[in-house]
Symmetry: D2
Subunit: 145 residues, 4 copies
């Protein structure tokens, strides 16, 4: 059940709210099963040594992967993160982060995703982290608070 153009536009906007607004996440492009996002790097996203905090990178990878999933599920469903693993290949700094996430294996209940996070400074783009996630597609009614 791939999202149509209108749904994709909605999802791109929906992806920025609450915590993702806090960290300045911006959608770049969303197509069924693949989402690209960016974050401009600022001091309030860094850790004690001036690098981007590992938590920002993990949050970006998780969220970008989650909305890549939204593009493949019915509107009646919601995505919840079941678990993920992230490896930090090198400390990240630069002007902004870019994340590309994609669904490696869609399923009715469980979707597997992956995400690459790059630090970008001018024309230099470095892969700084790679993540693998397990996402659950849950009927909205079941997760009401």
């Amino acid at each position: 059940m791939k999202a149509d153009k209108k749904r994709l536009e909605f999802l791109k906007k929906d992806a920025v709210q609450g915590f993702t607004r806090t960290i300045g996440l911006k959608p770049v492009s969303l197509k069924p099963g693949e989402f690209i996002t960016r974050i401009k790097l600022e001091k309030h996203l860094c850790q004690q040594d001036g690098f981007v905090h590992a938590g920002v990178i993990a949050a970006m990878a998780d969220h970008t992967a989650g909305y890549a999933c939204y593009s493949l599920i019915p509107e009646s469903h919601r995505i919840l993160s079941v678990e993920f693993k992230i490896s930090y290949l090198k400390p990240a700094s630069g002007k902004y982060l870019e994340c590309k996430a994609w669904v490696t294996k869609p399923g009715k209940l469980i979707l597997f995703t992956e995400a690459d996070v790059f630090s970008v400074e001018g024309k230099v783009k470095n892969l700084v982290a790679r993540a693998m996630h397990t996402m659950a597609s849950v009927p909205r009614a079941k997760i009401a608070k």
Copy 2:
């Protein structure tokens, strides 16, 4: 090389800056190899369904585990996250999050840690996530930007 009282007090303050200030992390207690922190939950830390964003929980677990490591390494060294895995046992909401992280296996170069994250509302405390991390202890000089 366990931190003395003065060093522990320094680390508790040092743990809050940049991104951890952004998410409102507060140290509760730090002893050699174990750190407890809290975050008051507010809307800017949540995701689209009103639950705490998975990225906040991951960031909290990673950071709390990282500073649990700092209490066991020389002042000349810095902690970098090599990788972690986090499992989300249930969606988190409530008044605040509490995280307890501990070093399961210290080493000169590599430290293994774990972290539990609880959502707290009044007297009810629910385990919402568990994480395992690999941390690297690196001489400060080697990671200068």
Copy 3:
């Protein structure tokens, strides 16, 4: 749906077949949500440096966790491993391995488990690995080959 005594006895036997027979897995005790197993260490389970192969430890942790799950699901269902992460705290050798696995969060579809693997030599027992798994409980009919 906790298994009764008869079901637990069946599961203890059922746990040893195919690959787990190949690696010499022996059930020690099974109660609802917790399974303990052992493997006698022999040369054909080791790697190039004489330590137990990481794959044996991973297989043991996965399988012990899987059957801990079986003790909590209906007989009509089967357990499949969705994913796991394992950390190797130290190289393993000794007379045998012991694994204790338990369900940290049971669910109708998804069960979270953890496992500790110890190397044992006489009275000395060392924790050599820790794992976290995501398991799926699937109706038997759905996974027929």
Copy 4:
């Protein structure tokens, strides 16, 4: 420090001993930073439902990734698995398994690797699992038993 042709030939043979002989691992090709292996599927490698045991797949991915690392480190060093995460995209069966592993980020102390495992039956090749590992390169002297 990439391995020369003679060293690569040695490593391909060295990769099969102890536990990897037990599971019938065969080297297919090894070049610096990338290793491909196969395992013929037989009943003693399966689990209770007739699928390949998750532990066989994990062991294959771990080992293939480990020897991909060996092709990039000095002969004086040994590779130890620090940790890994593996996702099982679908149950595996077929005539044999093929694993391709590669080093995503080499380092003097720590190497990051990934591995894909495919089930193969005739001309049909299915991706059944993906893994990410952290490997340590350790001077041989330091890990003597």
